[in-house]
């Protein structure tokens, strides 16, 4: 399907995708509850910082950081690795391949369709963050607001693309859920989801700088909480989009080769 045709089809795709998400609202709520880890971290780190700040983080800084983390997580979630792995295993990927729409576009739309419902959860948390920590942490530089939008889009893209690459592995291995589990474990540690990247020891921080995980959560959160100045934000934005480029390239190669192995099991 050409880009123009795809764009024309998008409103219907999103409308149907949203209707599906509404049908799965209970499942969605469970997912949201499963992503409350930043709120637990908020309580934990605030207690640690009660007597003295940790690095530059005082109690209010931790509150701002982890509320922002919760919001960013709601806006950058994707689950295509599980979908793909399941559909390769059962052969139901065939139904997507029969349509003149790239399966990755349909997965992307389905994943993005969840965001409006998640915003319903994220919005009150955003208001709470403003009440608790004030607006002074938000970026004042208009350029940084632009960077924030791109960083959020980039965060979602890296999450989606990493999921897609790992899901595509199922075309070779039959199932790639365990690989996704490993990715998630690394994501929890290195993304800034549980601990702000700034608090890592220098050696580990050096590794985090070159890994993709920080670009999923930590980077957008740092922009949102005013922790980055222009230069650092632009440098990290470049790093984030280089990773996106690498994932797109990797996915294209793997998808093309993997489809040759697709066995369309069942039926």
């Amino acid at each position: 399907m050409s880009v123009r045709s795809t764009v024309r089809a998008l409103p219907t795709l999103f409308r149907v995708g949203f209707a599906e998400m509404v049908a799965y609202r209970a499942e969605m709520l469970v997912w949201v509850l499963a992503t409350t880890m930043p709120l637990i971290m908020l309580a934990l780190w605030s207690a640690v910082a009660r007597d003295a700040p940790v690095g530059r983080f005082g109690q209010e800084d931790f509150v701002a950081y982890f509320l922002a983390t919760f919001i960013v997580r709601q806006l950058t979630g994707a689950w295509v690795a599980w979908q793909l792995s399941f559909e390769v295993r059962t052969g139901t990927l065939a139904m997507r391949l029969l349509r003149p729409l790239h399966p990755m576009v349909s997965y992307a739309v389905e994943n993005l369709s969840a965001i409006p419902l998640r915003l319903i959860v994220a919005f009150p948390v955003a208001v709470l963050a403003l009440v608790l920590t004030g607006a002074q942490r938000l970026p004042r530089d208009p350029l940084l607001w632009g960077v924030l939008l791109l960083a959020l889009l980039g965060g979602w893209l890296i999450t989606f693309l990493a999921n897609a690459v790992i899901g595509t592995l199922a075309l070779w291995t039959g199932s790639s859920i365990k690989v996704m589990d490993v990715w998630l474990a690394l994501f929890m540690v290195f993304s800034g989801y549980l601990v702000p990247v700034e608090l890592f020891p220098p050696l580990i921080r050096g590794a985090v700088e070159v890994l993709p995980f920080r670009y999923q959560i930590g980077f957008p959160v740092e922009v949102l909480t005013g922790a980055l100045h222009r230069g650092a934000a632009l440098r990290l934005l470049l790093g984030q989009w280089i990773w996106i480029g690498l994932f797109v390239l990797g996915l294209r190669i793997m998808w093309r080769r993997g489809l040759q192995r697709f066995a369309a099991y069942g039926g």
Binding site: M1, S5, P11, V16, A23, L98, R99, P100, G267
Partner: protein
């Protein structure tokens, strides 16, 4: 415009699978050494199908029918050979190709499970870029032919299997495909629903001139829909031609089905033809094709006949005979090798 819609030349699809005997020892052993084995799902078949033709793919389980269908639909890449569908190479999955075909699998569904079928129709309208007036006309036509009524507005999960299959067919035909690949479309359906689906498929073919390729284990589907059959067994083509001709070739004898007014001695029946079965409903006799007239005359003269019909042998019997002959022929070749 070429009259050939589907062209398959020397198609092969081989898979490598890893065998492992049962047991813990074998499981541990497979960690270090796996035993590969090549499965020849399709092994060098060739055929052509003309535009508008209705062709049945027949064969036992694991014969390679569905694999062939999936190659034709572009889901599987052939190991070797050449396949064209209306000039397209299926595995390239070009948009123009995907818009011309549809594949309905009785055991898989494209309908969105928790939404009404009307949402899948709307989704397909957008994806296949069907103009709104054409969409309305097609949907009205499909609703009438398939008697969909209000089904399209109920969540898919609440529909019965038969209702779901009717909606699956409608979803698959919204874009008016020119080639229909139907893989066991009536599987699991009751007899009356099978007839509804069969009649619809035939009507669709006659109205639109679409080419139809069907696999089914229900011989009634094949007999009702497909004047031509392609028989595949163990990945090899064992027959390609008219269904009537296949029946004549494998079982040249005819069946006389008699309803009698009273009990008759078996020897009197055997004087007319070979007794295939006798029960309360009647008697079935088998006679050579060139002796049918004489056998009918003898039956009418010597038996208390209430009703008499002349039939071919059931298709199921013809097929199992054909498969048995193929297996025997393969056995001879392997023995000779």
């Amino acid at each position: 415009m070429s009259q050939t819609m589907v062209s398959v030349q020397s198609l092969r699809k081989h898979y490598t699978v890893h065998k492992r005997p049962p047991g813990l020892r074998a499981a541990l052993g497979s960690l270090f050494r796996r035993i590969p084995s090549v499965v020849k799902a399709v092994d060098g078949i060739s055929f052509e199908i003309a535009r508008g033709e209705r062709v049945g793919f027949l064969g036992p389980n694991g014969a390679g029918k569905t694999t062939t269908l999936k190659v034709l639909a572009g889901l599987l890449h052939p190991s070797s050979g050449e396949v064209r569908v209306d000039g397209h190479v299926p595995q390239r999955r070009e948009d123009a190709f995907l818009k011309k075909i549809t594949l309905v699998m009785g055991q898989k569904q494209q309908l969105l499970w928790d939404l009404p079928p009307s949402e899948t129709f709307a989704l397909n309208r957008a994806i296949y870029e069907v103009p709104e007036p054409q969409f309305r006309d097609t949907l009205a036509e499909l609703t009438e032919l398939l008697e969909l009524g209000d089904l399209v507005n109920k969540p898919t999960r609440t529909l019965s299997l038969g209702e779901r299959m009717k909606c699956e067919l409608a979803a698959a035909l919204i874009h008016r495909p020119q080639v229909l690949f139907l893989d066991e479309p009536t599987i699991g359906l009751d007899v009356s629903m099978q007839v509804v689906i069969r009649d619809f498929i035939k009507a669709y073919n006659e109205r639109t001139g679409a080419t139809l390729i069907l696999t089914s284990h229900y011989m009634d589907d094949v007999a009702a829909l497909c004047p031509r059959v392609v028989v595949i067994d163990k990945g090899v083509l064992s027959y390609d031609g008219a269904l009537d001709e296949l029946v004549r070739r494998i079982r040249p004898e005819k069946r006389l089905v008699l309803r009698l007014d009273g009990p008759v001695d078996r020897t009197a029946l055997e004087a007319v033809g070979r007794v295939v079965s006798t029960d309360a409903a009647g008697v079935t006799l088998q006679v050579p094709q060139d002796s049918v007239n004489a056998a009918v005359s003898r039956a009418l003269a010597t038996l208390p006949v209430h009703d008499l019909t002349v039939e071919n042998a059931p298709l199921e019997e013809v097929m199992s005979e054909l498969f048995a002959q193929s297996r025997a022929a393969r056995g001879e070749v392997e023995d000779a090798a």
